[in-house]
Amino acid sequence: MAQLEFDSEWRKKEESLEEIIKKYPELPPIAILEIDAHRRGVFYTDKALERLDESVHQVTEYTLRDKTQRKVPASLTLRDGSHLVVGEDFTKTSRDPYLVDVVDGKIVLTDQGKVYEEVSYWEKPAFFDKVTSRGTPMKKVIAARPQRYSIQPSMFCHFWECAKDGCKYCSYGSKGVKYHGRPDDLINLQDVEETMRELVKEPGRFVGVILTGGSILTGPKLCEDELQIYIEVLQAMGTVFKTKKWPSQVNSTALDKEQLQRLYDQTGLTSYTTDLEVFDDELYKWVCPGKAKAIPQAEWKKRLFDAVDVFGKGRVDTGLVSGVELAKPNGFKSEEEALKKDFETAEEMASHGVLLKHDIWHVGDNSIFRGQLTPSLDYYVRLTKGLYEINQKYGLSGDMDSYRKCGMHPNINLDRI
């Protein structure tokens, strides 16, 4: 698939941010801006980068197409305390990104010279500058957002072992991230324990953790090895807590009920996620062929319903990579059609106690879908509003995946009021 060229006329083909804000007065303008910034990405001006202090802030380093290295803030926090999870390194150029600039001494989000919001850079946790007794930098063991930490227990995904089986929007697996059977394919438990001991020393820093990684299909039964890794890592983490259960989330391949029960019983885990990714079964088979072969969508859904029995209503959620349902050539032909199917599946899931969320699709350069164009802002706002209303209708609180614990789910962020 060819690289999509920047379309300088894109603004003429879509409703603007201002028009969308006016069209949906029931939604906070700052939340709509946040959706659009996730959709279009950000770019930092030189003045904005002068405010970056590596001793304080989290920094992302990446290589530009001309091979020059660039250091930018990991991401931004908005005035309402919500966190944008958008890196310049995965900002696409099919639309203009928002510019992060300095105006009147303040770091602000701007577009076409208009200042929209004051923002601040994410600060790094204290453990980021430390190393474990094995010499591993702790920031390689545990990653951080402003209020959440995360662990990736494995560095591979079995779906990518067979060419074309990987999820088509995924930028990680396509880079050749797969299991080689080396000890360092898995996170080291001693590193985890030591980093956790440092992490909990910092008061007021974190409110939760997510553990996630690629799918590991091996073991005495499907995903048994993946389950075992999560159990071991959670048990290592649990050594620093005084309570049996502590705020935590695993986002794994869909485990069966017996596996879910073991995951719940043997660890401190309090909530569980397994993402359907695409809410239409036929598109699921096209977008996520490996997943669909291993666990057909009907079975994936059943496992989510089983998870509600184990973890409780509101403690299980599922998400879609919003926008891929419109990917070419097999996706829905219209946004209207896509929304209809999204809401139909959403109702089915929520009626079984499964909380709904969506993550705005970033078209990765390394993904099979590279070069595709994401949907309009109007689409994302309608999807956000619809999923929020369905969660409300079924009494599903988004606390397990809130603005503090993730930040990437615009419909759940609306739960704050």
Partner: protein
């Protein structure tokens, strides 16, 4: 539009002996009033206070205020019974980073290690007025001299006799 607070009002707000309450409105239009002892004025003249509970109604209403540009109201009652009303809009909230974490530690030092902190809130002051009864009475009765009961206009010899046997004046 921001207004600059007078020195005496800043002192009243920053005085720990003052009683401080905040009124907010929910998305359904329901008013919520709660004591907020942490209210102070920061170096930039903004109202600053702490919300300890993430899931409190005040926290929800403050988010509603910042999302939809709604007013909040604060009343400060000093030890000598003066009352100041401050109206404004939420400017920003801080729930991570050094400023937040320093405040988190301070809260726990003061209130105990099982107490949480959800956020620091900042309010941009748009209007200040003294609500002390004598002051408001003077202002309003001057502005509306005939909005009083008729007996207050009557000659003393005709006015109501109170239980102590004296004439009410």
């Amino acid at each position: 539009m921001s207004v600059q607070l007078e020195k005496k009002i800043i002192e009243a707000i920053n005085d720990p002996a003052s009683v401080k309450v905040i009124a907010t409105v929910s998305k359904d239009g329901v008013v919520h009033v709660t004591p907020k002892g942490s209210i102070t004025v920061d170096e930039e003249g903004r109202i600053r206070f702490l919300e300890l509970l993430e899931k409190s109604q005040t926290q929800k209403n403050l988010v509603y205020s910042i999302w939809f540009d709604k007013y909040v109201a604060i009343n400060i009652i000093t030890a000598d019974k003066k009352s100041y009303l401050i109206k404004g809009k939420t400017l920003k909230t801080v729930n991570s980073g050094k400023e937040f974490q320093d405040e988190y530690v301070a809260v726990q030092k003061k209130l105990g290690y099982d107490i949480d902190l959800s956020a620091i809130w900042f309010v941009d002051v748009e209007e200040v007025s003294e609500q002390t009864f004598e002051v408001r009475r003077e202002i309003l009765e001057t502005a509306y001299p005939y909005e009083k009961h008729v007996d207050r206009f009557a000659k003393d010899e005709y006015r109501f006799e109170n239980k102590e046997g004296g004439i009410r004046k």
